[in-house]
Amino acid sequence: MSPDASLPLRAQVVALLGCVALFLFVLELVRRRQLREEYSMLWMAVSLGTAILAAWGGLLLGITRLMGAASANSVILFFGLLFLMAVVLHLTVRVSGLTEVNKDLAQELALLRQKVEEQGDRS
């Protein structure tokens, strides 16, 4: 691959279409309240970032050269993997928090239930 080679046009179109589809899908999920706005921002940013890389082929190749990577593919895969790992880590952190909250709610419920029963017995 020569240093100033550009991405094949067809690949660019496919990538852009993929980005648009992701963007619209995320928007629809938010509209249907299946995804919180908080997370939608992240996915919209991903689709936007990917779209920029697809449309502006020189940027990706520039980054590839800057990193000293052999091919643009590995650059995409590298950042993709990094991103997914960050997302999964973030989600496990959230699940841990939810577990804690769930436990507290269940305990509170058990205490309240007992209190109600006790009052039922008394009256």
């Binding site: 769930n102 436990k103 269940a106 305990q107 419920l109 058990a110 205490l111 239930r113 007992q114 006790e118």
Partner: protein
């Protein structure tokens, strides 16, 4: 000393009434609460029929979450001391005095009823033994105190300790971590030998598969407790809620 016996129970329907009755008959001066950890059978109903209040958890939280529910109840009801006692009848109510006495004499903040191995022929599964030995070694170094039976579910706690644990309880892995946490927070820990009876029913909460990774998780949990600062103890007295 207003004392509460906390009995966490999961699927102990065949024996729970007997266990509760045993405690009430031996120590009529003490209150009992059963924490039903969302049992699939009618453990809760039978305990209620035995005449004690029952805290019914809507979802299964595991032994740690169940015991902590009892601590929260004890805090709300203003008890001075609690004793945790297994719902399967392996803890002899006669031994309640043994674990409560050091609390009453203010010699310790938390008393662990330790399995009297020789007297009962109690033999833990191999993996569990490995876990206990491993933890005992790490804990002894961490706490500067030797505890032989780190997985005992027979423990007496004074108000300061159970109030503290009602807020900060390592529910994932209660038995070992709790000891290190309590010790690190500056409470006095004491281990006393008690006789154990064979459990009347049910299985240990530790299954074979789980007991394989038990020692590792135990070690990890303890190391992590050591890495973080213990949550601060509140010094507020009951009449000064802050």
């Amino acid at each position: 000393m207003k004392t509460l016996i906390i009995i966490p129970a999961y699927g102990e329907a065949p024996v729970i009434a007997e266990v509760v009755g045993d405690v009430l008959a031996t120590r009529p001066d003490l209150d009992v609460v059963v924490v039903d950890d969302c049992s699939p059978d009618d453990t809760g109903a039978r305990a209620r029929a035995a005449g004690v209040p029952v805290l019914s958890l809507p979802v299964n939280l595991g032994i740690g979450g169940a015991v902590q529910t009892g601590f929260k109840y004890a805090v709300a009801q203003g008890y001075d001391a609690v004793v945790q006692l297994d719902g399967d009848g392996q803890h002899d109510p006669e031994e309640l005095a043994t674990v409560l006495e050091p609390l009453a004499r203010d010699e310790a903040d938390m008393v662990i009823g330790s399995r009297f191995v020789a007297a009962t022929g109690y033999k833990a599964p191999f993996t569990r033994r490995v876990g206990m030995i491993l933890f005992s070694a790490v804990a002894a170094a961490a706490m500067k105190q030797k505890v032989a039976d780190t997985t005992s579910g027979f423990r007496a706690l004074n108000r300061e300790v159970f109030t503290y644990l009602a807020e900060n309880y390592p529910v994932d892995f209660p038995d070992a971590e709790t000891l290190v946490l309590v010790k690190r927070s500056g409470f006095r820990l004491l281990e006393v030998p008690v006789k154990m009876r064979p459990r009347k029913s049910g299985k240990s909460s530790t299954t074979t598969l789980r007991s394989l990774y038990y020692p590792f998780k135990q070690l990890l949990s303890v190391l992590i407790v050591l890495l973080r600062d213990p949550p601060p103890r509140r010094t507020a007295s009951p009449e000064d809620p802050s």
